[in-house]
Symmetry: C2
């Protein structure tokens, strides 16, 4: 049985991530983590005739690859949890339409990888699900088309803007005795925080307060300190949001995460050389970073105990046009290896 302290839930079944895969586009392949991804696609159309279908294809490939690496067939999957940024989550629905797996659609904006891991591990914790998949995707071109300007317009980007990652990540979870697989030790579902940021080209600032609350509440619930973890990995605050998060935690809560913190949006691109301004974003950013370099580093013993804190901006172009501020959310997953 799971146990709860505050809003943090300790899972007794320790659902293991028995396999994971990340599939990305050309630009992500040229970034600092390029060598860690399972597939890098030079042609980000993925052979499809519209960007939404390209995104679905990325997701499908990541899921199928993660299953193959786990030696699990689609028939053995009790539920796949997935969502994306596209209206009505069509990236996931069409990507998984032919998968023949029970499907739960999620919407958590860029926090989706954490949300899907949480729901998949809770399902396994009940005892009624043996194997679940957590997945998500984003695509620079489908996101620009939907959220911003037509690509052909060549719109200028502000310095605080982030670059939507073309990528998908998938993780296969199962109760297992495999000693090498990382497992989900604890989960913490976030609460919406809205500090009144209305600049939709500054998502990092809108999401930082949510990340602060989730990290602070988790550390309080568990009576632990940042130094107790090998890595506190946010996704995707970028450079602006990451600085704000560290400042907020230091100033308001006297918590210094600077020696342990990194951000998926800062890791996936070279901010100096790749013209991505404040860093990467999109559901596929934290998904592809976690489901490649990070989980593989846990398997190799480099990290033993990490906090994965994926953040999401729960706005839409419609809410922004209506003058609304940007609600942020951050979900936390404590992933460990060993005992």
């Amino acid at each position: 049985m799971a146990k709860r302290t505050g809003k943090t839930v300790v899972l007794s079944s320790k659902p293991k991530i028995i396999g994971n895969a990340a599939v990305v586009g050309k630009k992500e392949g040229e970034g600092p983590l390029g060598n860690y991804f399972d597939e890098v696609h030079e042609d980000t159309t993925m052979g499809e005739d519209c960007w939404e279908k390209s995104e679905s294809e990325l997701l499908k490939r990541a899921v199928n690859l993660a299953l193959r690496k786990s030696a699990i067939t689609a028939d053995e999957v009790d539920t796949i949890y997935s969502g994306d940024l596209l209206n009505q989550c069509i990236g996931s629905a069409f990507g998984l339409r032919d998968s023949n797996m029970p499907f739960c659609g999620l919407y958590g904006a860029c926090s989706t990888m954490a949300l899907s891991l949480i729901q998949a591990s809770l399902a396994i914790e009940t005892g009624g699900f043996n194997c679940c998949v957590a997945a998500t995707s984003s695509h620079f071109c489908s996101a620009e088309k939907q959220f911003r300007y037509p690509l052909e317009y060549g719109g200028q980007r502000t310095p605080t803007a982030q670059w939507t990652v073309t990528g998908a990540g998938a993780a296969v979870l199962q109760k297992s005795d495999s000693p090498l697989s990382p497992y989900i030790a604890q989960v913490h579902i976030g609460t919406i925080q809205d500090f009144g940021i209305i600049d939709s080209t500054n998502m990092g600032a809108a999401m930082a307060p949510a990340a602060r609350k989730t990290i602070r509440d988790f550390l309080t619930d568990t009576a632990t300190r940042p130094e107790d973890y090998d890595l506190i990995l946010t996704g995707d605050l970028g450079s602006v949001g990451s600085e704000l998060l560290k400042e907020l935690l230091m100033r308001e809560d006297n918590i210094d995460i600077s020696s342990r913190h990194n951000d998926c949006g800062l890791m996936i691109f070279d901010l100096e050389k790749q013209d991505v301004h404040a860093g990467g974003s999109g559901c596929g950013c934290s998904a592809s970073v976690l489901c490649s370099h990070i989980l593989n580093s846990m398997r190799n013993g480099e990290y033993k105990n990490i906090l994965f804190v994926a953040t999401g901006a729960l706005m839409s172009p419609v809410s922004s046009r209506e003058g609304e501020s940007i609600p942020g959310i951050a979900h936390l997953v404590n992933i460990r290896t060993g005992e």
Copy 2:
């Protein structure tokens, strides 16, 4: 611990629905179930200046009312599961922005009420969550604006079209000894089915194959017959989809649900008098029907054992414009009273 047969999961904790509420608009209040709703709003703007905010207000009222009827405060809620039809699910995000409850966003189109009940009851089944809320909403005007034509255009509707319900429903779940409360006995997460329907004004036909598969698989997994249940309630197939579902089950599977079947889309409106063509639809349709008349009838002893099978069409206007067919899904919740 939960137990699984096929894809059906039996919950040992029997999460109880300790309170529920439904808040609807004028047209729904004029329908056959008008007297059962907690609130009927003549002014469906809800005092807001845009339809998305009106929808958020409906959701907020339903959630707050369900909590009040359950004698539960927001602080006591471990997680609220909610989603809606709007792009990036802003109905839920903005409706629950100030709620101070941990929030999991879902996307299941019109199947969301079943999806939220399933995730909420699985969370409770883990033992790590005491109280969860399941909720969803839709609004005729926000849906027309987003999916179809501007209201002012006065577009004609085809005979197979359904009418999006202006309404929200919320249910509060908790492990409890209350003998009168209905409980979630079993859940069955659906698999996407796409039979190639491309007419986005005929959602009932697109969703019927998914409902058929979920109902058939559940009856097979549990070795039960339609007669074992007091009601098999689909939502929202409307008149066209309901006929197709019954025909498909009879012809392909030799299962006759006609003596037990009803559909939320057929119940909420008077199809003869209210000019709604094939019936009601939208996340708020099955949510407001379940969270008023149906759950109250279970508390009164009229129904003891029902199957709630909410259906969703996982398309978007973009996917339809790109020539894609409409993937359908149906999630099933077996709700019971007594032992």
